[in-house]
Amino acid sequence: MAATAKSVSSDNTLPWVEKYRPTELKDVVGNQETVDRLNVIAMSGNVPNLILAGAPGIGKTTSILCLAHTLLGPTYKEAVLELNASDDRGIDVVRNRIKMFAQKKVNLPTGRHKIIILDEADSMTPGAQQALRRTMEIYSNTTRFALACNLSGKIIEPIQSRCAILRYGKLQNEQILHRLVEICRFENVEYTPEGLDAIAFSADGDMRQAVNNLQSTASGFGLITPENVFRVCDQPHPVVIRKMLENCSKGDVDEAVACVTHLWTQGYSAIDIITSIFRVVKVYDELDEDKKLRFVREIGTTHMRIVDGLQTLVQLQGLAARLSKFALPEKAFKA
């Protein structure tokens, strides 16, 4: 086991996320339509101001970097200013550094522009965004902006009106699996298909998380199996919780309690279990609205107790019992 881990890390110390970050647009996985449009932009060379919006880990930053590399090639270092949330991006930086960069003269092939990449733009203050407005317009002859953000609603309206908005959706499990298999091959990692499934499941459409999980499972255990994956991605297993809820809605107390006990004996803390239960109920579609609300209420009561310090198995089992009670006829509880 240790040997495999070593052989993986010996040739390259980069985390896999960086190592396997696509460098060309065609390698970007998923969101075909959006990536196609970027491809066309790359071909024509005339980049509009862009906003790339979407959940984390689906290739926003990667694709914009690819685009910049394709367009600017060797001049990338001079002609691209990349700022993310780790940099100071207050109003002063926008007024000084960004504006200076926009004014800077760089020798570029005709039809190419300098690119300012503002990653995580939704964390910029509205004041800083205001300061961007006219800069985007005045220097549009030489400089284009690409903003990546999770929520485009956090970008002020005037900026949105100046940009073409590209949306990224969550990746399909198949798309993630495809890439994972490739990486496994490159890294000589042994895997079972179920193991990769488990990784894709735990990543929930987030490629970066999937790759990270893959790497940590591989370096920890060498073999990708569901058990190993869930041992690494420590999270009460949603499937077990789903099973518990199913039993509850059937009124099967014994089975429901068994599920909770199972999670408990795996060593999860009560607070982890209860938040997972809440999260699963939120998207558990077999329950109708009213039932869901009643479930949430019960879970909430238990959550409050746990928060108060009663982090015991009995509380969780009690929750399972109370949830099951909803499914049973009322008269069963009368003496």
Binding site: P48, P158, L293, V307
Partner: protein
């Protein structure tokens, strides 16, 4: 509703479907090209057309009709519609309608020739069986039809579904509008396909022309009199066009474009403002850098290229020309406000350029603090640093300067920086002055007041506090979103020059989905044209939803989503939870404030009204417990639970219609009022406790109700004569004048009592009280006394407008200096803040000067044990 439907169905059988008119459209294009070629079948003309014998069944076989080359008129006159009584709005019915079509997919959606409904105007009413209302409107738009919301003389067809709107039917009857049922509409579309295949050449060309024309001169359609005024041009132009169209059925875009231009200038010379100049601009566009952004490339270069804002632009131009002559107008600045992307900055720049002014632009990308503004603009607006001079000197200086100016009559010479050039200052994004721009907007106001060059300020949010104070010194000018008609011509030009085919209804859709943001539309088109070359209605719909601006939702929108039955039903549990996070501190309050006014939709069926209410109230109270824990112990993990209990849950029980507007949470106001009253009570009690031994509750419950009448009635019954009594009582309890006011406010009937005291007596009372010396319970270093002193200083400062958010220290001092110069104690400025603390009731001696205040403070320091 079922009743209404029945009646319509009955009448459908009665309708005389075999009525034939020769289509006005057809006759226009064939026989009478010189007559009005606006091919809308006008209701008037219908009666003039001879009726054909009833031979063929409608909707059976259109081929026959085609053969005779006299297509039968589809539909029936409005007079055959049954009368529809005005309905009362019913929620249940509304919900039913929201469900969409009754029998979706029961009829096959027709396929017709592209743009077969062009230049026809439709009004849709009622619900349809196979398609939902939205699908019907989409269908009409796809084939190029115009949709309007109300029946008018221009309406070609009223599309009637089940349960139509009474007013539309009535109007249609009075105007004798043709009506269509769903099937008739389909028939109309299908028949177009046949006809277009048979007579494509003669039909399509002119239709496309007309469509273009409609885009180019939308107003002339609405303005009938205009048509009549210039019938000659009109008919000539059309006739010529027809001829040309026949020759080359797909006219080259360029040609067509020129026609459009010439046409529009013929028909509507006054409209040339919105009409791009086709002849000159393509060359200029070609000359520019191909890699420019479209928004820059197609930036208006002359007044006529602006979309809308015509009147405003002229006003600014006029205002600037006043400056140019050397006069200084009453308002030295203009404040432009309006939503983003409609061309405010563009207009300002363009107009300045046209008026021959140089532009000095300051926008949010520059630091605009007090000092920078002064540095940059101070010299530009013909001003000197203020602090070096005192007021009088400045005034005399200004006077001499003005004198000089009058003598020379030449303003330009005074503009030191810009030399001989005229200068206009554009302050862009004034609402974007933020943290780094301390004192910026106060300074801007000062500059505006003194400026000798025109200043144009631009903002989005006219209501923002920073802008509101500025607006008092500026000419207020609101820019509205340009209408679809105003933008259409411009967009068509751009699309044409970029080789993008743009359907007329696609433009409408884009305008609608971007909320008339022309910059956004141009950006959209630019990115769309990257890989496509034509845009249809459906394309634009799909594309614009993909690119929808996401505007953050305010609490009033969120509350609507929670409590409105229809909207709430459409959302998943997780979505509803997410709504809460828009503003998790205020949205629960909104729900709590408004849920009780809802008429719960579920009250009729499953739960009674009171049950729903009680369920919701239970959840809200439970949520309050959670909230307490959440904030009290910093357990933020409980937030989803709080979301579910405070918002999602109550909304689930109470969703439905809402009586009246959604209210802002009253809790906030009441809470702060409660805090204020509590503070006042504490104050009163702390003074009174030297005489009485009672806690706050007792003061409030026993003392105030009995004392307040004693403190007021002498003033009411004896007038000014009662003042000494009241004052002696106050002195006895160590109460001051403010406590007197506070006690009245704490008393339940305080307002009523206060009204009974005549105003003269009240002022006499205040004067009398301030004159004498009073015992004080204890010495305060802060609190009421110093608060009073500050407010005195503030009232002195209010001679100068000082409404900026950030009143920093040197500003306050400056204000003091100003007031100090008037009272001749400049050298005392430093002593003031000290005295403010020492002089207990600074206002006691009304003189307000620092020196006398310190004197007055001395005798008052008699401290009682």
């Amino acid at each position: 509703m079922p009743r209404g439907r029945h009646r319509i169905e009955d009448s459908e059988e009665e309708i005389d479907p075999e009525e034939f008119f020769s289509s006005p459209r057809k006759s226009d294009s064939k026989a009478n090209p010189a007559s009005k070629p606006k091919t809308e079948p006008k209701p008037k003309s219908k009666h003039a057309v001879a009726q054909k014998p009833k031979e063929e069944k409608m909707s059976v076989d259109t081929a026959d009709a085609m053969d005779v080359d006299e297509p039968k008129e589809i539909g029936f006159p409005a007079s055959e519609l049954p009368d529809v009584a005005p309905k009362k709005f019913s929620y249940a019915q509304h919900m039913q309608h929201m469900g969409g079509a009754k029998h979706p997919g029961s009829k096959s959606t027709p396929e017709g020739a592209p743009n077969c409904l062009a230049d026809l105007r439709f009004v849709v009413t009622g619900e349809f069986s196979s398609l939902s209302r939205e699908e019907i409107t989409d269908l009409i738009k796809v084939y190029g039809g115009h949709l309007t919301s109300a029946v008018s003389g221009k309406t070609s067809f009223l599309v009637v579904g089940g349960d139509p709107g009474s007013s539309k039917v009535k109007k249609a009857k009075s105007l004798k509008t043709r009506c269509l049922y769903e099937d008739d509409l389909f028939e109309l579309i299908r028949s177009s396909k046949d006809s277009s295949s048979s007579s494509a050449l003669s039909q399509e060309g002119p239709h496309e022309e007309l469509q273009e024309l409609e885009g180019a001169e939308p107003l002339s359609q609405m303005d009938v009199s205009q048509d009549q005024q210039e019938p000659l041009h009109d008919s000539k132009g059309k006739a010529k066009e027809k001829a040309e169209a026949k020759v080359e059925h797909h006219a080259t875009p360029k040609k067509r474009h020129q026609e459009v231009a010439s046409k529009a200038s013929n028909v509507a010379p006054h409209l040339s403002a919105s009409q791009p100049d086709a002849a000159s601009s393509p060359s200029s566009a070609a000359a520019t850098d191909p890699s420019e952004l479209w928004t820059e490339k197609y930036k208006p270069k002359k007044l006529s290229e602006l979309c809308g804002h015509k009147g405003n632009a002229e006003l600014i131009l006029h205002w600037l020309s006043q400056w140019a002559t050397g006069l200084i107008p009453d308002r030295r600045a203009i404040l432009i406000s309006g939503p983003p992307g409609i061309g405010k900055t563009t207009t300002a720049h363009l107009v300045s350029k046209l008026a021959g002014f140089d532009v000095l632009e300051l926008n949010a990308s520059e630091t605009r603090s007090k000092s920078t503004l002064k540095d940059i603009l101070g010299s530009a607006v013909g001003n000197r640093g203020v602090l070096e001079f005192d007021r009088k000197k400045i005034r005399s200086l200004e006077a001499t300067q003005e004198q000089q100016l009058k003598n020379d009559g030449d303003l330009q010479r005074s503009l030191t920086t810009s030399g001989a050039k005229k200068l206009v200052v554009i302050m862009d994004e004034v609402d974007g002055m933020s943290g780094g721009d301390r004192g910026g907007s106060t300074e801007l106001i000062q500059l505006v007041k003194r400026t000798r060059v025109p200043i144009i300020c631009i903002c989005n949010d006219r209501q923002s506090t920073k802008v509101r104070s500025l607006a008092n010194y500026c000419e207020d000018m609101k820019f509205r979103r340009p209408t679809e008609q105003q933008m259409r011509a411009r967009l068509n030009t751009i699309a044409f020059r970029e080789g993008l085919k743009l359907e007329p209804n696609a433009v409408a859709q884009l305008v609608q989905s971007t909320h008339n943001d022309i910059r956004q539309i141009i950006n959209l088109l630019s990115s769309y044209s990257l890989n496509k070359s034509s845009m249809s209605y459906m394309d634009s719909k799909a594309f614009s939803t993909l690119n929808k601006k996401e505007v953050s939702v305010g609490p009033f929108d969120v509350i609507g989503k929670y409590l409105n039955g229809v909207e709430n039903m459409g959302m998943s549990f997780a979505d509803k939870l997410d709504l809460y996070y828009n503003d998790f501190s205020i949205i629960p309050l909104f729900v709590q404030e408004n849920y009780i006014d809802n008429r719960p939709a579920r009250a009729d069926s499953e739960l009674g009204f009171l049950d729903s209410l009680s369920n919701a109230a239970d959840l809200i109270s439970e949520a309050d417990l959670v909230d307490n824990k959440l904030r009290g112990t910093q357990q933020w993990g409980l937030m989803p639970l709080h979301a579910a209990l405070s918002c999602v849950g109550p909304a689930q029980y109470m969703r439905g219609g809402h009586n009246g507007m959604y209210r802002f949470p009253g809790w906030l106001g009441q809470n702060s009022k409660g805090n204020k009253l509590g503070r006042m009570l504490r104050e009163v009690q702390s003074h009174m406790r030297l005489r009485v031994s009672a806690d706050k509750t007792e003061i409030r419950k026993s003392y105030i109700p009995s004392m307040v009448p004693e403190l007021v009635t002498p003033l009411v019954s004896q007038g000014a004569g009662g003042i000494p009594d009241v004052i002696s009582m106050m002195d006895h309890y160590y109460l001051n004048k403010e406590h007197w006011d506070a006690m009245l406010e704490l008393h339940l009937d305080g307002d009523k009592l206060l009204k009974m005291v005549p105003t003269a007596v009240k002022t006499a009372f205040t004067r009398e009280y301030n004159k004498g010396n009073h015992p004080i319970a204890y010495q305060t270093l802060s609190g009421v006394a110093s608060g009073k002193a500050v407010s005195d200083a503030a009232s002195a400062a209010s001679l100068k407008p000082d409404t900026e958010d950030y009143v920093d220290l040197d500003e306050a001092e400056e204000a003091e200096e100003d007031s100090a110069t008037t009272s001749d104690i400049e050298d005392d400025a430093l002593a003031k803040p000290v005295k403010r603390k020492a002089g207990n009731r600074a206002g006691a001696k009304a003189s307000g000067s620092g020196v006398s205040m310190s004197k007055a403070a001395a005798p008052r320091k008699r401290r009682k044990p």
